[in-house]
Symmetry: C2
Subunit: 209 residues, 2 copies
DNA sequence: CGTTTGTGAGTGAGCGTTCACTTACCGCAA
DNA sequence: TTGCGGTAAGTGAACGCTCACTCACAAACG
């Protein structure tokens, strides 16, 4: 069956993704890399299957041998980064000593993700509104994980009472908006170099919101 | 000349925009209202000119009597909200007593804008990446205004030193990310009801980032 | 009567998708 | 080693369709 999530994740995430180019890697991984780069800068609707195929050094038909549709390809890419972020957040929270440490680790994880595969992260940022609706149940959701940890901190007395969803959103905004501004060219330093400051800012935002 | 910015702003912003429907107001304002609603929920590329015309209760041709192209229409709408936010931020800063008051007023202004014309604000949120590039010089830019005010506060000693652009982005994120989460259905209360808490959070984020 | 405003069928370009076909590669029997 | 059948992967021209945009015309208005 073409385009199953398991297969695609393996193609996109199993290999060292940065080694995949138009001339290296499996056809599926090459299609994903090509599509990702084009989608991130010009949007899913701004790119044709012909362009993706050309960028991947393959034919248009091969896209459909590996994915059910252009939209399924776009969704696969989004789910891949979404699942990766979920895993990163889960690990960061699990390994943390206390609430403050959890915030620091989660922020650091986001910063690293934003730096280490910039294209994938930019695709995530720009297509949250298209694919990021929460109606799908059972979907890994990093934001829900963060909100739950904040709610836990509130009952434990580590954080002033309030709306955990809004606190989570504010904290996330402290990291994502700078990432978006960097993408727009407003500055160009690595996110990781500001991870500590952003972690303090996120923690402060959580306390106050 | 069809679609000049001045005319469009008057059509979109000069009238009481909430009174404009498919059957009331000038053709231009009806087209703008119809396009705005469709663009906000389904994206510029996800909506056809036929649908816009139908929603506005007009013919396709009338779109082109009033705008140079579909893209010009989309850009006009974006520039309208961008200019409005710029004016709001400028006023908020000008009328503020001190830095803390400026932050509170700007946050309140964003919350009010998010509540009072939700569709326009959602269009802004979802299309920042398409139209929000900063390469155009002389363009009113609310973010630059905020960054400048933060830089001023830093030299005045009202705020710890750091990168004003990143501080501004973090503060904006504290407001915009909750707005985005509300749009995605994660919560549904009015932004204005949380304006004070978000203002405190934004100020804290500015101090720490 | 001239000008502006609105109309909607028409147009060609470009889209996502399909499918008959070619190529590459495998295990296996002779 | 050679030949063979089966399978999967890749190809690219072609298809049906939708799109943004145009234009000859009509209505409205002063």
């Amino acid at each position: 069956m073409a385009g199953s999530v398991g297969m695609s994740e393996r193609a996109l995430l199993g290999e060292d993704v940065r080694g995949v180019t138009a001339t290296h890697g499996t056809a599926k991984a090459r299609i994903e890399r090509a599509a990702l780069g084009l989608f991130a800068t010009r949007g899913v609707d701004g790119v044709s299957t012909r362009e993706i195929a050309a960028e991947a050094g393959l034919s248009e038909g091969s896209i459909y041998k590996n994915f059910d549709s252009k939209d399924a390809l776009a969704e696969t890419l989004f789910e891949a980064i979404h699942a990766r972020l979920y895993a990163l957040v889960k690990t960061a929270i699990a390994e943390s000593a206390d609430f403050e440490d959890a915030v620091r680790r989660v922020v650091a994880a986001y910063c690293d993700a934003a730096d280490s595969d910039r294209t994938l992260f930019e695709y995530h940022l720009t297509h949250m509104f298209r694919f990021g609706q929460i109606d799908r149940p059972g979907r890994p959701d990093p934001t829900a994980l963060i909100a739950a940890r904040i709610a836990e901190a509130m009952t434990a007395g580590d954080c002033p009472d309030g709306d955990a969803e809004i606190k989570a959103a504010a904290a996330l905004g402290v990291v994502l908006q700078p990432a978006a501004h960097r993408m727009a060219g407003r500055f160009s330093i690595a996110m990781a170099s500001r991870a500590d400051a952003l972690a303090r800012a996120a923690l402060a935002a959580i306390q106050e919101a």
